[in-house]
Symmetry: C2
Subunit: 335 residues, 2 copies
DNA sequence: CTGAAAGCGCTTACAG
DNA sequence: CTGAAAGCGCTTACAG
């Protein structure tokens, strides 16, 4: 196999011009079917591979998309965003694009340092996965490359794809109420992230609709302002069900409850959110809400590709519904 | 900010040639310091970004490396290779390269389908992360792009970076023996993967050195030929310690032992390998061997970059030592 | 249906 | 120290 076969090599071998070869290989009109077939065959025989670089330079597109994930989301226990990335990579591949992952260090975020792929024009746009600070998010909106935020938004004018946290938690709480629960606590620091806030509001809406008062002692914090997990302070009057802002917290809560002598779900029901590894590590396995990563990834990819071709495309906030996964952590307590 | 600033734009503005701009920006000789400074300043002011595509086409390098991970290694519970990928991406970044992740589907592997980045010449070489079937591995060795296998090898002639499974398990078993254990079982299907095999042989070497006979009933399988986990068949004479081929299996073993009424580590010590999430999910937390991902990633990256510049570079099998992490799953039983 | 010309933005020789 | 010329491999627009 020769080192580098170019269109010109094929052209010379067949006694045609490289323009014709280009047309034939790209299925453009202006070549007879017979010649096209012969060219394609010869290309295969000679082991020809398109040089995307040359094509990209001519067209001004790299057919690469940068995916930025803040480093802190890729801890030892947090594979959530990496799994998300996997779906993004697949979706990009499906549209003929490649993904270039950029792991954003806390330092670069603080110093408003843009990824090298930006400075080197290696990508046509960015997907920002997960929450970054406001200044960094704003910086990305100012550059001349389009950006789509995935699983995070910070401002009205941003194009983003989000889990419908609000609606998911609303439906999950409805489910508990249908099972007879009326004393339902929410577990999560509602000042911490916007997704916890939205989930809390969905829980609250469900209470409102069912005329169940919101009780302050039923809002149980799980982490401090810096996101560090803290010990739960359980209410004096125990609820019959706990709605946790995520599976990891639900997992820890189940542990804590068991240590205090409560049985789950017989004494307390517990539900989570995300359907990550903690949902099935917990015993009993958790009823939870599964984020629809495939659909979210596919949407974000479609959006960024469209935006890279037409800078004026606007999408706004796009919400994708999750799905309740029913497992064994909820007890039916109505008669 | 103008859409696209080129070297020529800078040149025109300063009344010099684009060759001079290129030299100045690339810190090549042939420009006066004064002019170089002025050019760099103007470039910054005009918001110039290098078009890597053009540079790459000229030089014949893309400064991208493809990282291939078989899909089956990225399950819901297996974030190991994605964490590995993170380190690879960081190491590549450090050397001025970008990584393009390719998730290899079972189908593509079966049909010997090469990643699109290969056909599009988007990468200078590949890092293959994790085990693929022999045919696929051979295919990769035949293409004209270099490849480095990471955490897997299949043949003498391959350049690869491996955890020293053998030596790690040897040291870990030595540690158990130093703690007084002499009845030590190995848990893992020793016909399943080469890394389990090597770990087993390290365990065996430690037994040999200490004149402890290898007992057949102390080799406990954990999975069938297809890699599916099976129930453990525990020996009639219980050992005092179990050496598990990985943390996940150790985690399950601890569960099984507890259900049977054994206390860990009081009645049986258990050790794992990998130091993944299961090591700290297990109670007690597992003594295990930590794979040195940083060093392995850095080595693999250095190797693939060198190989992309010099096709004749050969490295062979490079082994990287792991490190024992001491936790609470081993009981000292000597007097 | 086919191809000569020009250009994408850069770099590498080479000449002044 | 500075720059005109050529070329990397492709595609687009135009002419025949």
């Amino acid at each position: 196999m020769k080192q580098r076969v170019t269109m010109r090599d094929i052209a010379r071998k067949l006694g045609v011009s490289s323009v014709t070869v280009s047309k034939a290989l790209n299925d453009k009109e202006g070549v007879s079917e017979e010649l096209r077939k012969k060219i394609k065959e010869t290309a295969r025989e000679m082991g020809y591979r398109l040089n995307t670089l040359a094509k990209a330079m001519k067209e001004g597109y790299s057919y690469n998309v940068g995916v930025v994930i803040p480093e802190r989301f890729i801890g030892d226990t947090q594979s959530f965003y990496l799994r998300f990335y996997q779906h993004i990579a697949k979706a990009l591949d499906h549209y003929g694009y490649c993904s270039i992952l950029h792991i954003l260090t806390a330092e670069d975020e603080e110093q408003l340092q843009l990824p090298r792929v930006y400075n080197e024009r290696k990508v046509d746009g960015f997907i920002m996965l997960g929450q970054v600070n406001k200044e960094y998010a704003s910086l990305f909106q100012q550059i001349e490359l389009p950006v789509v935020f995935l699983d995070f938004y910070h401002d009205q004018d941003v194009d983003c794809v989000l889990t419908d946290n609000f609606f998911g938690m609303y439906e999950l709480t409805n489910h508990l109420i249908q099972c007879g629960h009326r004393e339902i606590a929410f577990v999560g620091n509602i000042y911490s992230t916007s997704s916890i806030q939205d989930r809390f509001l969905g829980y609250y809406k469900s209470l409102l609709e069912h005329r169940i008062p919101l009780r302050e002692e039923y809002i149980i914090s799980d982490r401090d302002e810096k996101g560090k997990y803290i010990d739960f302070v359980l209410p004096k009057n125990m609820p019959t069900a706990f709605v946790c802002n995520c599976d990891q917290v639900a997992y820890h809560l189940v542990h804590t409850l068991k240590e205090l002598g409560y049985r789950v779900p017989e004494d307390c029901s517990v539900v989570g959110f995300d359907n990550d590894i903690y949902a099935t590590l917990a015993e009993p396995n958790l009823t939870t809400v599964q984020v629809n990563m495939e659909e979210m990834s596919d949407l974000a990819v479609k959006m960024i590709i469209e935006k890279s071709k037409d800078r004026n495309k606007k999408y706004g906030r796009v919400l994708v519904k999750g799905q309740i996964i029913y497992r064994d952590s909820v007890q039916r307590i109505n008669d």
